[in-house]
């Protein structure tokens, strides 16, 4: 249906009797006759016109010469505003004002924002359409002068009306009536000022006051509740949200056959960061079970109880590790950790923290604690092993055994399983192997591009050693040990890189 033309309030230029005339209306009985009349009125040059029909008639805009509406642009702007508001709101709330991770997604997680953006686009566009249409049509408008004619009521049923406003520059009452007469309309009428009672009936005020009064009641109840106390139990609007059906720890449930609300782990569950038994003991436990089932079972049970393995195991392994020929434990021979540069650097770091105080930075068994013990002649001191001893090389002292020793300790050395993570203990094993290698590796293993550098460093170290030796000969004893430790350390780090390559 067509838009209303400009409203028709005041400024009449024609008077019929003593009432102001707003325009002229003509009645038609068919759509076709109305459309014909519309086209002719348009062609006659009238602009402030309007047609009234009981149902939407397509093509009437063109017939009346009504310009396309700007409503789509309003809707577009409103829709885009909705999108922008929704996205800004969500980004602000979820990523800036109160950063909160939901479902492990990033703070600004576009897919999650799309539904709201879509809804707000539609909402704003709908508002734009609805209220834009109201504004463009001059709504709300409770009365229109055409309503004064009782015959006009049939426009809601089976009659069609064409209206020309008196404000049209071409308007002339007689001329318009003559034009309408040519269309064969059998009812042509001037639209006059509505002089019916304009006062709102008194009872309407009473109804409005009553409605306003009643609508305040919930607000008053709420306000009263906020400032008074009550001994009544709380009123639960959402009962199942106030009393969640979820179970607390140790409670019973009827959901499961064992009536426990706390569920045990699914068989075979591996906790995050947890490794298998072999990884945690350094022993091939399947092979162990076939040799000594009782001991294997005890070892596994100790792990599951999450006890530090050192307690009894150290006694168990202490006598065995002294002579490798007598050792029947199926130690892991390969380091289960992926030996990379990263692992070796980690091993070096951990070795430096935990091992070097006794074993020395170069693994030579002459760390600060040892030196101190020697100096004060500590009677019960057992010197730490030199890690470069052939008896500690991989062929006689497998990786698994070395791992077990670090974990559980040996002789005076305590177990470190409580301090060092299993992965890091394996990294230390790898680093110790690198240290051992550093003492007897051939120069041929050095990559060609580094050979020159290594040789230069070697020469420097030898020169320094020689100088130190000369000095020592001259009588300075204490300086020698320190230089030894430093230079060896430089070499081992080179070697570590070498191995990782």
């Amino acid at each position: 249906m067509s838009d209303n033309t400009d409203s028709n309030d005041t400024s009449m230029n024609t008077v019929s009797g003593d009432k102001k005339v707003h325009g002229t209306v003509a009645e038609f009985t068919t759509v076709d006759s109305l459309m014909d009349a519309c086209r002719k009125v348009r062609d006659a040059g009238y602009q402030k016109t309007d047609a009234f029909t009981p149902f939407p008639v397509h093509g009437i805009d063109k017939a009346l010469g009504i310009k396309p509406t700007i409503l789509p642009w309003i809707v577009l702007v409103c829709g885009l505003t909705g999108t922008a508001v929704a996205l800004t709101m969500q980004i602000w709330m979820n990523a800036i004002d109160y950063p909160y991770i939901i479902s492990g997604k990033p703070y600004i997680s576009l897919p999650a924002f799309i539904p709201v953006a879509f809804e707000l686009t539609i909402l704003f566009a709908s508002f734009g359409t609805f209220f834009g249409m109201w504004i463009l049509n001059g709504l709300p408008k409770f009365s229109n002068p055409v309503f004064t004619d009782p015959r006009f009521d049939r426009v809601t049923d089976d009659r069609f009306f064409l209206y020309i406003d008196a404000k049209d520059p071409k308007y002339n009452q007689a001329g318009v009536e003559k034009l309408f007469g040519e269309f064969g309309s059998d009812y042509i009428q001037s639209v006059v000022e509505d002089d019916s009672e304009k006062k709102i009936p008194g009872f309407m005020y009473k109804v409005w006051i009553a409605v306003a009064a009643v609508s305040i009641i919930p607000l008053l109840i709420g306000l009263k509740m906020r400032v008074t106390n009550s001994d009544q139990p709380r009123f639960h609007i959402f009962f199942d949200m106030d009393f969640s059906p979820s179970k607390d720890a140790q409670q019973n449930t009827t959901l499961f056959a064992d009536t426990r609300a706390m569920r045990p782990d699914v068989p075979g569950t591996v906790a995050r960061g947890q490794h298998d038994v072999n990884f945690r003991t350094g022993i091939d436990m399947d092979a162990m079970a076939s040799i000594d089932g009782v001991r294997a079972e005890r070892l596994v049970r100790m792990l599951d109880d999450d006890q530090p393995e050192s307690a009894s195991e150290s006694e168990e392994s202490a006598p065995e590790t002294t002579k490798s020929v007598m050792d029947t434990t199926p130690w892991l021979t390969d380091n289960p950790v992926d030996v990379s540069e990263e692992t070796l650097l980690r091993g070096k770091q951990q070795f430096g923290i935990y091992c070097s105080v006794c074993h020395g930075l170069n693994g030579g068994g002459n760390g600060l604690v040892n030196r101190r013990a020697q100096r004060i002649l500590a009677a019960t001191w057992v010197p730490p092993s030199k890690l470069h001893d052939a008896s500690l090389h991989a062929d006689v002292y497998p990786d698994g055994k070395l791992f077990s020793t670090i974990s559980n300790g040996i002789r005076k050395m305590p177990g470190y399983s409580a301090q060092i993570k299993a992965e890091d203990r394996w990294a230390i094993v790898a680093y110790v192997r690198a240290l051992q290698r550093s003492q007897d590796a051939s120069i041929d293993l050095v990559p060609k591009d580094q050979l020159e550098k290594i040789k230069k460093q070697q020469a420097e170290v030898e020169a320094a050693l020689k100088a130190e030796a000369d000095k020592a000969n001259a009588g300075a004893e204490s300086a020698e040990e320190e230089t030894d430790a430093d230079t060896s350390d430089a070499e081992t780090s080179e070697d570590a890189k070498d191995e990782s390559a």
Binding site: H58, G59, D61, L76
Partner: protein
């Protein structure tokens, strides 16, 4: 209602209702050339890339043609269902396209053949080693195999084609019969059956999408997949109708019948269905993305690696944002040449969509190995295959249309449709 001086409906034998001779003449060259190109495309992919890519390229071409055809079938059904008046002048175009379901049934035979080899050439579930090689849970696989097995699959395919061919031929025959008799009872009869027909159509389309496309990833499932395929299908059907009307008018047919108002309406539907397509596509994606369950994310994961991520993003931009913005304005919709351009554009994008649905599943049997479907030669072969099949279909279409009319000349709503106004 007609408000203009009632438009003159031309007599049924007016040349404006015949397929232009220049198009009829293309029938044989299109059929021949299309067939050769299609086979060449398949052969190149088959022998130079892999058998799997060859069959997948063929399937992509087949699904492309199928979606256009059944989209047009749905268009016809829905026009009868809602007793549409506006669309009568363009309905015959859709009717002519929908009977192409008959030759398409024949083009389905190679897919059945590849299935019968039982080595997972096209559908991985067809490989008896599939569940073992992928370490699938035996119980789950047994349940799946109850549905996904050669003979039950073929039986279902026959059912789908039987229903579609039945519907297409019934509605086409009714309409062409009316060309001769001009009886109103035909329209009543078609309207009467359009309701059940739509129900049959939606069920078969959904199931066919599950069987023919979704089962390429046998362990993946999405209840929205049928609607997703349908969304692309109905969108491209409207594009095809719009483009065909434009080309026919250009060649001289139905010049007075199809007006700017019809392009305006087709444009509105194209605009709406572009949004519908992304709405369905995004709804499918969002739930899977949010749930983040490995079984469900698999399908989208494969479309986010090895170059497919660019295709996925490109679909959002070029299958939705660009045409959405392009089709939004009434100015555009009321200019047949521009709207025909967008129709052609969307028809191309629809193939990208189909390609994106099917080809990522054509990676080699070893999971995560380099997908051969993205190599230039595979893409070129796929394009040859689809262009060939579309050419073949067009050739047959012109042949059928040459023996018929391009407008439902004696439809009781033809005059109403010609006088149709939008605003």
């Amino acid at each position: 209602m007609s408000h203009h001086p009632a438009p003159v409906v031309k007599p049924a034998d007016d040349p404006a209702f015949k397929l232009p001779a220049s198009m009829s003449a293309l029938s044989v060259p299109l059929c021949g050339g299309g067939l050769i190109l299609m086979i060449a495309g398949w052969a190149i992919a088959n022998f130079m890339v892999s058998e799997k890519v060859g069959m997948s390229a063929y399937l992509a071409a087949f699904i492309y043609c199928l979606t256009l055809t059944i989209g047009c079938l749905f268009f016809v059904l829905i026009q009868h269902l809602v007793r549409a008046g506006w669309s009568t002048v363009v309905r015959r175009i859709a009717e002519l396209v929908m009977v192409m379901i008959v030759p398409l049934a024949i083009l389905f035979i190679p897919i059945v053949m590849s299935l019968l080899t039982g080595s997972g050439t096209l559908y991985r579930w067809d490989d008896p080693e599939y569940s073992v090689a992928n370490h699938l849970n035996a119980n789950v696989w047994e349940a799946k195999a109850g549905w996904l097995n050669q003979y039950w699959f073929m039986f279902r395919s026959v059912i789908y084609f039987a229903i579609w061919i039945g519907l297409a031929v019934y509605f086409y025959r009714g309409s062409t019969e009316q060309d001769e008799t001009g009886q109103r009872s035909v329209t009543d009869r078609l309207q009467y059956w359009s309701g059940p027909a739509v129900m049959l159509f939606s069920l078969t389309t959904t199931m066919a999408a599950f069987d023919w496309v979704m089962s390429l990833a046998p362990m993946w499932f999405s209840t929205m997949f049928g609607v997703y395929l349908f969304a692309g299908s109905i969108l491209s059907a409207h594009c095809l109708i719009c483009l065909s009307a434009f080309l026919l008018q250009k060649k001289g047919a139905m010049r007075d019948e199809v007006t700017v108002e019809h392009y305006h309406d087709l444009g509105k539907l194209m605009f709406g269905f572009t949004l519908f397509w992304i709405y369905i596509a995004f709804s499918q994606f969002l739930l899977i993305w949010y749930g983040n369950i490995p079984e469900e994310t698999e399908w989208f994961y494969h479309r986010q690696e090895a170059g497919w991520e660019y295709v996925s993003i490109a679909l959002v931009v070029f299958h939705w944002i660009v045409p959405f913005m392009g089709l939004m304005s009434m100015f555009v919709r009321r200019r047949p040449a521009i709207i025909a351009f967008w129709a052609g554009y969307l028809l191309i994008m629809h193939y990208v969509d189909v390609f994106w649905m099917i080809m990522p599943e054509a990676h080699a049997a070893v999971p995560y190995s380099a997908p051969a479907a993205t190599t230039p030669i595979a893409v070129a072969a796929s394009v040859m295959c689809v262009v060939g099949m579309v050419g073949l279909m067009l050739g047959l279409l012109f042949r059928v249309a040459g023996g018929s009319k391009v407008v439902a000349v004696r439809d009781p709503r033809l005059a109403e449709s010609m006088a149709f106004e939008n605003v």
